[in-house]
Amino acid sequence: MNTASAPLRNVKARRSVMESIRRNLKTAPLTAWFGMIVILIYAFCAIFAPLLAPYGESQIVGGAYDLPNSLTWLGTDQIGRDLLSRLIFGARNTIGIALITTLLSFLVGGSLGVAAALQRGWLDQGVSRVVDAFLAIPVLIFALMMLAVMGKSNPWPEVFGTFPLNLIIILALLDATRVFRLARAVALNAAVMDYVESARLRGEGMSWIVFKEIVPNILPPLITEFGLRFCFVFLTIAALSFLGVGIQPPTADWGSMVSESKQLISFGRPAPLYPAAAIALLTVAVNFVVDWFLHKTSGLRDGH
């Protein structure tokens, strides 16, 4: 910003990555710090779940719907599994599946978007029109319909058990339409820049232009989008699991846990609130971090 007042210096002696991260962290607002700490705690729980949880994921330790006691701190679920342990294992399953889905969606949507922006012509036209049609249908409704057609878990139950492969593929492809739109738009802006033109004239190949010129320059908006899309996918998976068509039992997952313990709330026990709060806290945390990142990197998506 105020480079004009600074003396000219060697361009190569830029700040190291660690140094700039440290500088940025120093100026981070309280909400962003809160978000980052929460995310780290969740990541820790997800990675070390088997060590942290007092009992196994589907280990039966008591009677059905036991009240909280010294052995099971939050009580037990409908078949006597420890709620706290399932909450901790839920971090691994719920976040893991949402993360895989978002990564897959960015891989498909991002690469198609960049390809469409560079290639233009029939590829761009074709994919864009299909995406337009898909954008007109709400994701949750479409996901529900596709799950009805394809079935809840996966086509090979004898190999994968109840692994929600169908869910991951359906949501990743639906979400990829949203990623495609953004990736195409930002790549289109970058593709007309002079540095891309000069790389072309230099005779650089396609892979150089994509990975050395375009991708580094469209990364900030895509990273922000990744945070937002992760939240969206995470919430959609939680909603679908809550509706009973997402992640299937016996996998410990927060959305299904809310639905499994929902009767308890009529008896004055807040059991469904724990997994629901776990979901809410993570998405709030990611949103705080994304909000800060958005302020740091240009006002490309200012507003909401």
Binding site: A136, P138, I279
Partner: protein, 323 residues
């Protein structure tokens, strides 16, 4: 032709094309399955004869194009065929008859939520924009960022826990039937309606705030202010005519969001609406019901967005007074 009329007609045409494209997608979802729907339902052990008989029962043996035009032609007239459930019995359930009362319940719920949420959100959003960076704006900003990130069922169960279980003001389940009187219906639908209101109000306020801040930063507003026009006149004569378009977009976007949010909220409160019907049909893989619900949801979503576009075209001062 007047430019406004031409643009509106163009937009209407595009909307119809989108609706048709979406109906094709919804219809062909059944065909996309590798191996086919019948084989998937019956399992790998089914003999070809069983599969053929199953297909014949459902009418799946005829060409897809014929079935599409039959389906969409009847759907336009409000006939969605008969449900797959109870197929083996002599009694065939009519999809439209199942949907109709539930559709009324869902629109009832959505209408109440919209009636509370829209004026409140516009007012609060405009205030946050006018008093930007004040403590009010800051509080609104953090609170809405927090509620946006929460899943609908979290908000719903907190409300149930506080208002139905602890305070005993409402019922935890919103069971209504066709004979339920209007006021009773209103009372039973109160908690789900409040949940939906809270869910969309945050989105709507943030979008209203952003739209108005964006508007107040335009050069012509600054020009009016510098000219010495009073604050209320700036808003009435300069800001408002240009504000209708963004406000209409905000409202339509959030009402469309309501359409999706209704699914989860209905299941939480066991409210007999179309969202719950769709979830039940998905679990039992009853495709005619699923497709009918998906078509209704998608059509509502598209029509709301279309309406917003038309409002912003019709109120656009640049189009209304062409040079």
């Amino acid at each position: 032709m007047h430019p406004v009329l031409r643009t509106v007609l163009q937009r209407l045409g595009l909307g119809i094309v989108t609706l048709l494209a979406v109906s094709v997608i919804i219809f062909s979802s059944l065909e996309m399955l590798p191996g086919g729907y019948a084989e998937n339902i019956l399992g790998q052990s089914a003999t070809p004869e069983t599969v053929a008989a199953f297909k014949r029962d459902l009418g799946l043996d005829r060409p897809a194009t014929v079935r599409y035009f039959e389906w969409i032609g009847k759907a336009v007239q409000g006939d969605f065929g008969s449900s797959y459930s109870g197929l083996s019995g002599s009694l065939k359930r009519d999809v439209s008859a199942t949907i109709a009362p539930r559709l009324y319940n869902t629109f009832f719920l959505a209408a109440i939520a919209a009636l509370i949420a829209v004026p409140l959100a516009l007012l609060l959003g405009a205030m946050a924009a006018l008093y930007r960076n004040s403590w009010f704006d800051r509080i609104v900003n953090s609170v809405t960022l927090t509620t946006i990130a929460m899943p609908e069922f979290f908000i719903a169960y907190i409300l149930v826990y506080v208002f139905a279980v602890k305070l005993r003001l409402f019922y935890p389940n919103s069971t209504v039937s066709i004979g339920t009187p209007f006021l009773e219906h209103l009372y039973r639908a109160a908690l789900p309606a409040i949940t939906m209101t809270l869910v969309i109000i945050a989105h709507m306020m943030r979008m209203t705030r952003a739209a108005i801040i964006n508007l107040l930063a335009s050069p012509y507003i600054e020009m009016a202010q510098l000219k010495g026009v009073s604050k209320s006149d700036v808003i009435r004569h300069h800001a408002l005519p240009n504000a209708w378009a963004p406000i209409a977009t905000v409202i339509a976007f959030n009402l469309a969001y309501l359409v999706v949010g209704v699914v989860v909220v209905e299941v939480v409160f066991v409210y007999p609406g179309i969202g719950q019907l769709m979830v039940d049909a998905v679990s039992s893989r009853d495709m005619p019901v699923v497709q009918a619900c998906a078509l209704i949801f998608a059509a509502t979503y598209i029509l709301l967005n279309l309406l917003a576009d038309i409002v912003s075209i019709v109120t656009n001062p640049r189009l209304l007074h062409p040079k």
